[in-house]
Assembly symmetry: C2
Homo-oligomer: 417 residues x 2
Amino acid sequence: MNAFYAQSGGVTAVINATASGVIETARKHKKIISNVYAGRNGILGALQEDMIDTNRESIRTIQNLKYSPGGIFGSARYKLKTIEENRIEYKRLIDVFEAHNIGYFFYNGGNDSMDTAHKVSLISKKMGFPVTCIGIPKTVDNDLPVTDNCPGFGSVAKYIAVSTQEAAMDIASMSKTSTKVFILEVMGRHAGWIASAGGLAKSENNDAPHIILFPEIAFNKNNFLKKVKESIKKYDFCVIVASEGTRYKNGKFLAETGAKDAFGHAQLGGVAPVLAGMISKNLNLKYHYAIADYLQRSARHIASSIDVKQAYSVGKAAIELAIKGQNAVMPIIERTSNNPYRWKISKTSLTKVANKEKMVPRKYISKDGYSITKACKTYLEPLIQGEDYPPYHKGVPKIVKLKNISVTKMLNKNFVV
Amino acid sequence: MNAFYAQSGGVTAVINATASGVIETARKHKKIISNVYAGRNGILGALQEDMIDTNRESIRTIQNLKYSPGGIFGSARYKLKTIEENRIEYKRLIDVFEAHNIGYFFYNGGNDSMDTAHKVSLISKKMGFPVTCIGIPKTVDNDLPVTDNCPGFGSVAKYIAVSTQEAAMDIASMSKTSTKVFILEVMGRHAGWIASAGGLAKSENNDAPHIILFPEIAFNKNNFLKKVKESIKKYDFCVIVASEGTRYKNGKFLAETGAKDAFGHAQLGGVAPVLAGMISKNLNLKYHYAIADYLQRSARHIASSIDVKQAYSVGKAAIELAIKGQNAVMPIIERTSNNPYRWKISKTSLTKVANKEKMVPRKYISKDGYSITKACKTYLEPLIQGEDYPPYHKGVPKIVKLKNISVTKMLNKNFVV
């Protein structure tokens, strides 16, 4: 039998390390999995019978995948509908799997993807071509339940911690005559894990960031401005890490303030310019802000070693679980010790993770809602340990290039998604 | 005699490597320069007699300064007025220098600072307390004349090249079903050197960035939108590196479009949201943008080795020039060979650099105005070579902390700037 592997949703700095783990491990079990077909643009690759033959890639390429950010085979923001809504899509998937003798489906994504993988496992059985479905966790948002943390998060957390520390040192040297407030806008629309990582820039001797804004804590404008003022008074400057999902008590995101641009369109950009405007209007302080956007989740150059290792390990474990006959499961990271940090790969049922989100628990956020607690730091710190630098060529990271050879199509008709 | 060293203007990822070069070299010539007093918050430290005694710092601290971004002693955006406008300021400066037996003034900054250093050299002589004044180049903008490049630029260039490459790999994997356009807004209000560094992400096999916007090239909206469309057609996505100084033919910055926020204030943020709005309105494409802001100039974690070396070398050379009796000069970087890249430290007169800006020459920008030429790449590439990683502690760069002991004040009165 062959295997199908697809990347799903927003990519991470280390999702290709997972691909590397999947493919390298599968190659060690050729008698069971003769080839791994990778979906070009994720699940679309299965629907459109557009797959990459990974057997044609050298072992060196497969090993070097771990240095490459982005999704090497292409990912997709595409959620299969329910079987009632779109039976034809599932039918097509099974047709393609059957035509290519695909008995294993490895879906590398977030909670949506775990739902899909689960459904495919059920439906394939019902359709008489049972496929072993293994979900593989991936998300910078760190919001999957059961697993201690998600591959992809450790690296974005490291990037945010390092960037916050560096920018804080910059503004600290300028605040006397220039910028007083610096805002770093980070990802995480629903869960504040990435914002919380800003707190790792803080050591006993270094007080930035002074304010972290979490989606989990209702934003209170007056309270926030008071906090900014306090910070200016104490340190002469204020560093803020703000989640893009920062919202008011009524649930409205700060980023949706009804502001208009010159064309009368809703204001572009996110929470940082809104906070900056608030600070400028009410406190008349000079500000700067950065919006890290894709830079944070693609920053392979400063990936966490632990994250790279874990991303590889869940890929490897996915193959091993499949070979052991497990179905509709997802490998998870289990923390066995905090100090020293120790972890192992374990597993959970897909039903336990599908469509569920794990928020930052209240006990990880300080009483005033503006920083992380010691418990949070204990949880986060191990995840950003170690630097796993990519090789460089001419001053920039060396790019891994695939031969990218397509699997010959077996079906005649095209499928329009 | 003692020396006074001050950092001026926006800081860089490597300005403290220059401080390290100055102090370490001065210590080797104790008979001539017995102590280096560092201005707390730049030139304000001299005016306010607020100086740090660097002799109290261990040699290890001085050597480790090179790993720290920001300005370790504090910098200042403060330009001395002309002597006609504010004679009292110059008088005060000389008073402080005289009181502390300061015979050497090292001013680490951009073209404004070179002007100040030059003036101090003239005025001190006239006032009967001649001070040897040496300017030391520093600017992420790379816009100082005479010197081949400016310390600070190589590291921001490396950061932008790496970030552009990484974000491009991210969007390449998502474009089929999600974001089609990614814009990275970079610094450089007048000169497009930082924007040009985005072009280093491009190799033969990697086409991003597809568009670079330089302040040197008048922005043409229709032409730009056409170029975006072409890129989408060819690659399915478009990566844009835009200088914050991108402007129309009439000189108006794109960032000043007259857009208003919810409070009726001029729109906050820069060129990226304006371009994004333009693309969304006219081409209806999904976009993302990042604003690197301070992250780019404080990114010591990905500093260029060459830049760190050169930053240290100009500091060292400044002391050596002073000891040789040179006055009103600035050490410069001279390129002696492109392949292999070779450079040496030479010098120029402060009058030749004061208040002058070096733009990206037209021959470094492609005919269509949207990318860099081979000549530009030949110039830029050596400057981002090598990675000079800082040491890490608990997952983030280890912070250098000064004892930060003040020099005892000799003058009674305070000076209000």
